[in-house]
């Protein structure tokens, strides 16, 4: 047992709970807790989404300040290298299973900042994105639709970004290191989080 690797553990866990998996998925879908990390202009769509008009709490969705207790990670807009460092650390702090929803065209391809020196062009290269909503900016209805989509994907098991991140960690790490330079975790992240 001592030689069990990370992948084995995931497989083991999945095998063990296979019988209850549909139940678990249904439960996960019905209780998404959002990690509030509003990066760009898209963040302004969160207040209408949370307040009386769209009221996402009726779907069991709740904004939540702690990454350790969240499972839906919203990237609401453009991502700069500086923010991306924090995003990666926050994403890695979250528990499995975790899902990423990217708002707007900026995380997809840079959007209006397509040739800007400080906007990351493709978020998908650095962390796995499960659902991306196009539009600049996506209205609250579109975000709602994106959340519905992620619920559907959770139910049929295709929202598997957290698994992809583990399986292809080398590739993601290579991209991250290319952008930030080798050893950025030690240099930068340790300043904010002493235990890394």
């Amino acid at each position: 047992m001592s030689e069990m690797k990370n992948d084995d553990f995931v497989n083991y866990e999945l095998r063990e709970f296979k019988l209850f998996e549909p139940l678990f998925r249904w439960a996960r879908k019905k209780s998404l807790w959002i990690v509030a990390f509003c990066t760009g202009c898209g963040g302004i769509e969160m207040p209408p989404l949370a307040t009386a008009r769209y009221d996402f709490e009726r779907f069991g969705i709740m904004p939540n300040p702690a990454p350790r207790m969240g499972d839906l990670f919203l990237i609401t807009g453009y991502v700069t290298p500086k923010t991306l460092k924090r995003i990666i650390i926050t994403y890695e702090m979250m528990q499995d299973p975790k899902y990423v929803l990217a708002h707007g065209s900026c995380p997809i391809n840079g959007g209006v900042y397509w040739d800007s020196y400080n906007v990351v062009k493709q978020l998908d290269k650095y962390i796995p994105v499960d659902v991306a909503i196009a539009g600049c900016m996506p209205r609250a209805e579109a975000v709602m639709e994106g959340i519905m989509e992620i619920m559907r994907k959770i139910e049929d098991g295709t929202a598997d970004g957290w698994k992809r991140y583990k399986e292809n960690y080398e590739w993601y790490k290579k991209n991250q290191d290319e952008l930030f330079g080798e050893g950025w975790r030690e240099k930068d992240a340790r300043r904010w989080l002493a235990w890394i």
Binding site: K82, N109, W114, D115, N118, V120, K121
Partner: protein
Amino acid sequence: MDMNEKPKVEEKVQEVPEVEAQQLPETKEGKLVAEILRKAPYAEGSVRRARRVEFKVPADRIKEFLELTSEKFEMLMQISVVDWIKEGEFELVYQLWSVSESVHAFVRTRVPRENAKLPTVMDIWPVAETYEREAHEFFGIIFEGNPRLGPFILEPREYEKHPLRKDFNTLAYAKTIYGEDFDRYDESKTNYVI
């Protein structure tokens, strides 16, 4: 016919600004400008419109001038920089707000682009520290006497290049840093943008 008409038009254009520049209106803005110009004859001043005045000051006397104006204009709102690359100059615009008179002033000054240096105005308005750090980071202007100049918002590799200078090639920089997957001009790419 056309050839004859053209010079007439040019003459008119030349005349107009000279007349405008010398008049200061009989309003509170006009009086304010006249009062400051009396104390600082080296500066040029004009009234743009209601509640908006403008001064042009040579760079070597900017500190002296700002110290003088700070009696009337208590607040420094921003220091913005314009890069006039063809003339080889940076134009700094100190935006001042007069709380007592409700007037907004632009104080413009120009410094050469190479090794641009100016005295800090932190001792007049302490808030200038932040604005000067920003101008230093994005344009590479050195404010003598500001103790905290250095990398501020940007990543160190961007700080070296001063990305808001006009000769900074943003597109080439973005391609080297973020990869060439997204090239707006190359339609044969699979990930063609916009």
